[in-house]
């Protein structure tokens, strides 16, 4: 936990410096007749972030914040496994949306999570895996007229559009 506290503060400090540098693409000073330049607001906010990171590191060095005193691991094995499954599966899901689209990914994801991790019976998994993409289609494409990304499966939906819209 102690090391994680320091690493997070340093990463965020580097991020603040990057934002400060990025803000200077627009003027950060006072422009006569116009007021503060466009970059001033984010520049000073990022400067504030940097100061906070310094403050967090200072408290870390003095062991004042709870995480900097904690002897517990930042992530134990179970936490790491749960996090890897959750974040990793989301990463894969969002990546796959670009290729095969939302309507293929939703059932795949539900089957993966409910069968693979939850060990639920097909009798629970299958109805949900079938109902959810249909509901999403009716809600977004038909009711809201928002087209969700479909990747290479786009042509398969042309007949549906012609039928329903």
């Amino acid at each position: 936990m102690r090391r994680a506290e320091l690493v997070m503060a340093l990463v965020m400090a580097a991020f603040s410096l990057y934002i400060m540098w990025k803000s200077t693409e627009l003027p950060v000073g006072w422009i006569e007749g116009e007021g503060p330049g466009g970059g001033a607001f984010p520049f000073w906010l990022a400067a504030g972030m940097l100061v906070c990171c310094g403050w967090i590191v200072l408290r870390w060095a003095r062991r004042q914040s709870p995480p900097s005193r904690s002897e517990e691991p930042y992530m134990d094995r179970t936490a790491l496994r749960v996090f890897a499954i959750g974040a990793g599966s989301l990463l894969a899901m969002i990546g796959l949306i670009h290729i095969v689209g939302v309507y293929v990914v939703i059932p795949l994801y539900l089957i993966f999570y409910m069968r693979g991790i939850g060990h639920h019976a097909w009798s629970v998994t299958a109805p949900l895996a079938l109902a959810m993409p249909v509901a999403a289609f009716l809600f977004f494409e038909i009711a809201l007229k928002i087209t969700l990304p479909k990747g290479y499966t786009e042509p398969a939906f042309y007949p549906l559009y012609e039928m329903l819209l």
């Binding site: 006072w30 007021g35 974040a87 809600f139 087209t147």
Partner: protein, 503 residues
């Protein structure tokens, strides 16, 4: 009397069939979301906001307002039956609610919680009805310096009252404001902070992307990790006779209910405080006022009644500054406020003049939502007990999918979905290190207003920060804000000086 007429018009809006249906749907959704351990009103509102694009803004906010209420009622259910707070707002309810359930008095605890929620909700909506119009009138005179001072006050409450690590709270505020600056500069129109020249940053970072990332993905990752253990659901047989008897017994608890309602309402108005500290404070006050404080924590009904009336009252209280001043009183209302901007409504005092039907429709719907939440809650207690047994391996993927499609819908850009995942993962990692995340969500919603008001003020004053202290209202608000910012510092100094004096 004028208020009464406006309220009647509001009821005409709230009781339209579609709105009435949405009130019921919102209450049910809220009750379910509140009852699920780890999910609260803020998660529900963040995840379901994109789904409300289907209906007009007035109906949308009525639905989300009812959901907010429902979640406050629902939070008590898992606090009592599982001993795990259904939402952070129901933490104090576990103290006496769980012991009651273990003593076989779960039905009494559930009825007490629901009734107290109803009383707290009703009293606070009446207060809201009386306070909102004069406050909005008063706020009409506000210019950019006053607006900026109010925003400072909102952020200062997080520092002075939030109770979190101070540098981390400041950091959270700064990073939220900074994200709101991404996109096009409001004055010159020049592109600003376009990271890696990705075109997706030109339309700015939608607050929903951050809110869903943090409250959808980040929180679920957190909940999945923390609730890995087995949960034990208490048994509760709910009979009509039991409910009637429990209701009759509640006459002894009226004092705690009233205290919780008033306290919760006024605490709820403060931006950083909201329902969680409001309910904890109400619990503390109830115990202090009690003749036999030693019974608290062992199943005292007052210990359920006080926090439950307070958290509902606080949820109404937090809507007061949102509607009248355009400053949200809680993370949930911050998201509602962002939603109002998406719907094309400018929050603030002008709302009471230009969109009367919206404001009064919402207020009237709160009266109705309160009643429906009570009835649905008591009638369907067994159904909510089933929710508690719903495994997270079903819930988590469904919520993740809702997050992904919900994050895509507002801008229809996959760029935002990726960004949401990054925010979710970072939010989870930072939360583990005690970084408070609510200030960042509030900040990204208020950021554009903060930047506009500070820049306009400085232009008015030719670059002098003195303008914030020369105008009377702004000076008073600024002074309070600075006091709150400095509060932790004063405490540190007192701690340093204190022991020296004792020597």
């Amino acid at each position: 009397m004028e208020i009464l007429g406006l309220l009647l018009e509001g009821f005409a809006v709230a009781l339209e069939p579609i709105n009435l249906a949405l009130i019921v749907a919102g209450c049910i959704a809220g009750l379910f979301i509140g009852a699920m351990p780890g999910l609260g009103s803020v998660n529900g509102v963040a995840i379901l906001l994109p789904m409300t694009f289907l209906v007009p803004p007035t109906s949308a906010i009525i639905f989300l307002g009812s959901l907010y209420y429902g979640a406050m009622y629902g939070g008590a259910i898992s606090s009592i039956m599982l001993g795990i707070p259904g939402a952070s707002t129901a933490v104090a309810t576990t103290f006496d609610g769980r012991p009651m359930a273990l003593q076989g008095k779960a039905d009494r605890a559930l009825v007490a919680a629901a009734t107290a929620s109803f009383v707290g909700g009703t009293i606070s909506v009446v207060l809201f009805t009386l306070f909102a119009p004069p406050l909005a009138d008063f706020a009409l005179a506000f210019g950019p310096p006053e607006e900026f001072a109010l925003l400072m006050l909102a952020f200062a409450t997080f520092i002075g009252l939030g109770g979190d690590d101070i540098p981390k709270t400041f950091f959270s505020i700064f990073i939220g404001l900074m994200f709101s600056a991404v996109g096009l500069d409001i004055v010159s129109g020049n592109p600003r902070l376009i990271f890696f020249d990705l075109p997706g940053f030109y339309h700015g970072i939608n607050f929903l992307v951050l809110a869903i990332g943090i409250y959808g993905i980040g929180e679920i990752l957190w909940t999945v990790e923390t609730t890995r253990g087995e949960m034990v659901v208490s048994r509760a047989a709910v009979t009509i006779r039991g409910v009637v008897r429990a209701l009759a017994d509640l006459r002894h608890n009226i004092r705690s209910m009233l205290m919780g309602s008033f306290l919760g309402y006024f605490v709820g108005i403060l931006p950083a405080a909201g329902a969680t500290p409001g309910s904890l404070m109400a619990y503390g006050v109830a115990r202090t006022m009690s003749k036999n404080p030693e019974t608290y924590g062992k199943g005292n009904v007052d210990g359920v009644v006080a926090p439950e009336s307070a958290n509902n009252a606080a949820s109404t209280g937090s809507m007061l500054p949102m509607l009248t001043l355009g400053i949200p009183g809680s993370p949930t209302t911050a998201i509602l406020l962002g939603g109002m901007v998406i719907w094309g409504l400018e929050p603030g005092p002008m709302l009471f003049i230009e969109h009367k039907e919206f404001v009064w429709g919402l207020i009237a719907s709160l009266y109705a939502a309160n009643l429906f939440a009570l009835l649905i809650n008591i009638a369907f207690i067994p159904a909510f007990l089933m929710v508690l047994r719903m495994p997270f391996t079903v819930l988590a993927p469904v919520i993740f999918i809702l997050c992904v499609v919900g994050g895509y819908a507002p801008t229809q850009d996959m760029h935002d979905v990726w960004l949401m995942l990054i925010f979710g993962v970072m939010g989870y990692l930072m939360r583990k290190l005690d970084y408070p995340l609510a200030p960042a969500v509030l900040a990204i919603v208020l950021g554009p207003l903060a930047e506009a008001s500070v820049r306009q003020s400085l232009i008015m004053a030719h670059g002098s920060f003195g303008i914030f202290f020369e105008r009377p209202i702004s000076a008073i608000i600024m002074a309070i804000a600075i006091g709150l910012f400095a509060w932790p510092l004063i405490m540190v100094v007192r701690r340093l000086v204190g022991p020296a004096r004792a020597d």
